[in-house]
């Protein structure tokens, strides 16, 4: 007998939200009504998910597990959705008739990612991953009046489909060796099998599918185009919620392999180094703010991988903590972006010029977020990196940590360029001040407060992450 209460978040997003927005897609469009509905539902969804953090259970013939780990990630996902919906008050990048469709796809995608973080069977994982990917393909396509977005969406789809194919092949190899698709059974079997070349290849191929989602080298090159081509709010969703879900599955899969394989660790270490270095070096030359953020995401994927490849509870919980960090910080950047580019257009880094005059609050949000991304204390970005580096160092990865630290310095350069644009450069023509509603002011204040406070008092969040990770290993 399935206890449906354990599935309350999934049921809410799967039935209530999708149903409401399907109806709204059919009736004549009304952007204000659609946004208000989405806001209320996303807020309720967050409340439902928070309420369900205590739920436990194995469902559907043990393919679906509800535990603290999955529930913590579901809270982050619904938080991500709520934040992105908050940004949608000026969804200028998408045709008004399609706003309800955007909300529908966003909720569906959130549902898929919730399934992803709870799935404990390779087949379920694959299905959930595909569902979320397809939602994103369509979302990228929905940008108004740009042939570019169609081109981007198709490219995104093609890269995504190839990554899926690679992943499926890997799944077949693992199944062939271990004769099971259950993650629990695999955790018992894989540590003995991991030294076999076919199993290791299979595992790396499966991970490849997730590297695509996390935009890690060598599956990263879609990210800048997609960020640039998609509507700002959609790009925000891809940069935040979608990354969080991927971290969860990566942890599950890597934890499954155990820390027996030196080769696996080395392969992951190489990928982490290349991702960090490529992401940071390429970000330096970007002129478009979203492209810069995309490359910085690639680099941050590398840092997260550093925590995961430590294969210790500390490393995994550091990765979870860092996933939350990325969620908050990347959202802060996109919040500023969406408010500066109210017409829904892309924003060049020079377009930030004069921001400190146009809106001191937004300039501060941006500065804090970028300094935090660069790992400057006392922000959450620094604390997250410290946890990751401590975990990696405990496993003796001194050289990796040094490389990562030098990447942090490189990244500081382009973050400083954006800060310079916001604080120093004067715009060519006088731009009007940016008006923020009371809610947006509160949100801006909250983002800065979380960035600083969670950096200074990380203990509660870290303890939660550790408790969550203990349920996986």
């Amino acid at each position: 007998m399935v206890n449906w209460m354990t599935l309350s978040p999934e049921l809410f997003y799967g039935l209530v939200m999708t149903a409401v927005f399907m109806v709204l897609c059919l009736v004549p469009a009304n952007p204000r009504r659609d946004h208000a509905t989405a806001l209320i539902l996303a807020a309720v969804g967050l409340a439902v998910t928070v309420g369900a953090t205590g739920m436990r259970g194995d469902l559907f013939v043990d393919t679906y597990r509800v535990d603290l780990f999955s529930q913590v990630f579901k809270v982050m996902l619904s938080l991500g959705l709520l934040l992105v919906v908050l940004l949608c008050s000026e969804l200028a990048g998408v045709d008004e008739k399609r706003h309800a469709l955007v909300y529908l796809l966003l909720s569906l995608c959130t549902l898929a990612m919730m399934m992803l973080v709870s799935a404990v069977n390779l087949v379920t994982i694959y299905v959930a991953l595909e569902l979320s990917s397809y939602c994103l393909y369509v979302l990228v396509f929905l940008r108004k009046g740009q042939a570019r977005s169609a081109q981007t969406a198709i490219r995104y789809f093609l890269v995504g489909a190839s990554a899926s194919a690679v992943m499926l092949f890997g799944l077949a190899l693992i199944y062939g060796a271990a004769r099971t698709t259950s993650v629990v059974a695999l955790s018992a079997a894989l540590p003995q099998l991991i030294s076999r070349p076919d199993v290791l290849t299979g595992l790396l191929m499966v991970l490849g599918g997730f590297f695509f989602k996390l935009a890690l080298f060598p599956f990263h090159f879609w990210a800048p185009d997609v960020y640039e081509g998609a509507a700002n709010q959609v790009a925000a969703y891809i940069a935040t919620a979608s990354k969080v879900a991927t971290v969860a599955v990566l942890i599950r899969i890597v934890a499954m392999a155990g820390d027996g394989s030196l080769l696996l660790v080395r392969a992951l270490a190489a990928l982490a180094i290349v991702s960090m270095t490529v992401g940071n070096l390429t970000a330096i030359v970007q002129k478009d703010f979203k492209r810069m953020l995309a490359y910085s995401t690639i680099a941050h994927g590398g840092y997260i991988l550093l925590g995961i490849l430590s294969m210790s509870p500390e490393g995994f919980s550091a990765a979870v903590f860092y996933a939350f960090t990325v969620l908050v910080l990347k959202f802060s950047c996109f919040f500023v972006l969406a408010k500066v580019a109210t017409d829904g257009a892309n924003l060049s880094i020079d377009g930030l010029a004069g921001l400190h005059r146009r809106s001191p609050l937004l300039a501060m949000v941006l500065m804090m977020a970028l300094f935090a991304l660069a790992g400057i204390p006392p922000t959450i970005g620094f604390t997250g990196k410290l946890f990751i580096f401590t975990a990696a160092m405990a496993k003796g990865h001194l050289v990796l940590v040094l490389i990562a630290m030098f990447n942090v310095v490189v990244s500081l350069y382009y973050y400083l360029l954006a800060i310079k644009a916001a604080y120093l450069t004067e715009p060519a023509k006088n731009l009007p001040a940016i008006r923020l509603s009371v809610g947006e002011r509160l949100l801006a204040g909250a983002l800065v407060a979380v960035t600083v406070c969670a950096g200074i008092f990380p203990a509660p969040l870290l303890d939660l992450a550790e408790a969550a990770v203990r349920t996986v290993i």
């Binding site: 630290m405 942090v408 990380p458 203990a459």
Partner: protein
């Protein structure tokens, strides 16, 4: 070393004063520049008063860590909020208080984006205070970065002379240093196997193997050495000093560079004495090259601020040489020199800053006869120059004397080079004074007003500090002794 806990959290009060000042300024409207400056001055004054009190109230007989306060912060990682001061950090606290207070007063005439300027200055100084008093490696690193990143905006917005280039160069250099320090800290914490960031625990002898100490000391030495302008990592320093606005140059050359030397002392030498012993010859070599190089490069400069910038490189070399001698006298001299150079260079930059504000030139060739048109301003400049030369009865004299006494015993060859270079620099500096302050007044300076009494106050404070510790060096010497003698005494050799 004994730890004496405080019955009143003086050290936290210093930090909270800064934080309170920062918050008040953030909530004041940007137009109320007078209020903002007053708040900053009060905030700086309170911190100066507390550090002065601590400097006087420190119990020399008891020694050790005093005024300690400790609260668990992230227990699962062994991070504590742990502050205390000893004979090494007290002079630094006092220096920070003096430079902060005089720096704020120096900038009294600022009109461009006043609110942001003072907010950033206070943030920066909070980091500096925190670093000097913290005994937890996590917090030391946090404070280190807090004191660095406001520099970028401070130089890039309010600076002059290639300011954006200088700001970027400085920030990247200094944070490249922190890219070595953080792995060094994490490495030691992990290797200790104790899961604590507590410096007093980690510094127990035998915690780290010699090879671990050698590696970690190297990371700390280069990481903090960049900030201390150790040759060949000094190139950010003259450029940054020249570009920075006056108060920022003062705080930067006066206090921030000391953080570098202090970091080598506190993290490198306290935690890794064997590594210190291993790398000391390299430290001495680089320090001597820095002294000679700073002097030679200074000879070629035509810009007053560059002259001071390069003299800072050679004076910080003296600190490095003192640390490398591994003797009580050398340590005393190094810490004394950190204090003396901090005050001296703050005076230097503040008097040059005033001259530049009025004449709009820093070129030595375009100045002349300053002593006639602005005698008081020229007087301050001359005192700073004499202190920089190391004239007896001024604070730096004693500091350099102590360092060279030790250096002649341990590294006689290096000492000869260093002293020779400093003698050359003294001649050069006198020539600079002669060109700018005496002779026929240059056209652009002839009609300018002298420094006003209000703006003379901060410079006068700095002069009196230099003279006070020059006449009564034992005030400082006896305090540093309480830390250096036990520290050298407990070394493993």
């Amino acid at each position: 070393m004994p730890i004496a806990y405080a019955n009143f959290p003086y050290l936290t009060t210093i930090l909270l004063t800064c934080v309170a000042g920062l918050l008040i300024i953030l909530f004041l409207p940007a137009e109320q520049t007078r209020q903002i400056k007053r708040v900053s001055a009060v905030c700086a004054g309170v911190t100066l008063a507390i550090s002065l009190y601590l400097f006087v109230a420190y119990d020399h007989a008891a020694g050790g860590w005093q005024f300690a306060e400790k609260v668990a912060w992230v227990p699962s990682l062994g991070i504590h909020y742990f502050n205390a001061v000893d004979g090494f950090s007290l002079p630094m606290l006092l220096l920070t208080g003096i430079v902060f207070f005089t720096g704020v007063l120096t900038m009294w005439e600022l009109e461009l984006r006043v609110k942001e300027f003072f907010a950033l200055i206070i943030l920066l100084v909070t980091g500096v205070f925190g670093l000097f008093m913290s005994l937890d490696l996590f917090f030391i690193f946090v404070w280190f970065d807090v004191s660095l990143f406001p520099m970028y905006l401070l130089i890039a917005v309010w600076g002059s002379t290639r300011k954006e280039y200088a700001a970027m160069k400085l920030t990247l250099y200094l944070l490249a240093g922190s890219a070595l320090i953080l792995p060094g800290i994490v490495y030691l914490v992990v290797k200790s196997g104790m899961f604590t960031f507590d410096l007093t625990v980690l510094m127990e002898p035998g915690t780290f193997t010699p090879s671990e100490q050698k590696l970690a000391f190297f990371l700390f030495y280069i990481g903090f050495g960049i900030l201390a302008a150790v040759w060949p990592f000094h190139t950010w320093s003259p450029v940054g000093h020249v570009a920075a606005p006056t108060a920022v140059s003062m705080i930067h050359a006066g206090v921030l560079m000391k953080i570098g030397a202090f970091g080598i002392l506190r993290l490198g030498m306290f935690l890794c004495p064997v590594g210190w012993q291993y790398w000391a010859p390299l430290m001495a070599l680089l320090a001597t090259v820095g002294i000679v190089y700073g002097v030679l490069a200074g000879l070629r400069q035509t810009d007053l601020k560059y002259v001071i910038g390069y003299s800072s490189v050679s004076h910080m070399g003296v600190v490095g040489l003192g640390l490398a001698t591994m003797t009580v006298s050398g340590l005393n001299g190094a810490v004394f020199q950190m204090f003396a150079h901090g005050v001296m260079t703050a005076l230097f930059f503040s008097s040059v800053g005033y001259i530049y504000d009025r004449t709009h030139t820093k070129a030595i060739a375009e100045l002349g006869g300053l002593s006639r048109s602005m005698p008081l301003a020229a007087g301050f400049f001359i005192v700073a120059a004499l202190a920089g030369i190391g004239v007896p009865c001024l604070a730096s004299f004693w500091a350099e004397l102590l360092v060279f006494i030790a250096a002649f015993k341990v590294y006689p060859v290096y000492a000869v080079f260093a002293v020779g270079a400093l003698a050359v620099s003294a001649l050069f500096m006198l020539r600079v004074v002669q060109r700018t302050c005496y002779g026929p007044p240059a056209e652009r300076v002839a009609q300018l007003p002298d420094i006003s009494p209000g703006l003379a106050v901060p410079r006068a404070i700095l002069v009196s500090v230099i003279v006070l510790f020059g006449l009564f060096p034992s005030l400082m010497y006896n305090l540093i002794q309480t830390a250096s003698i036990p520290f050298i005494g407990r070394l493993p050799w």
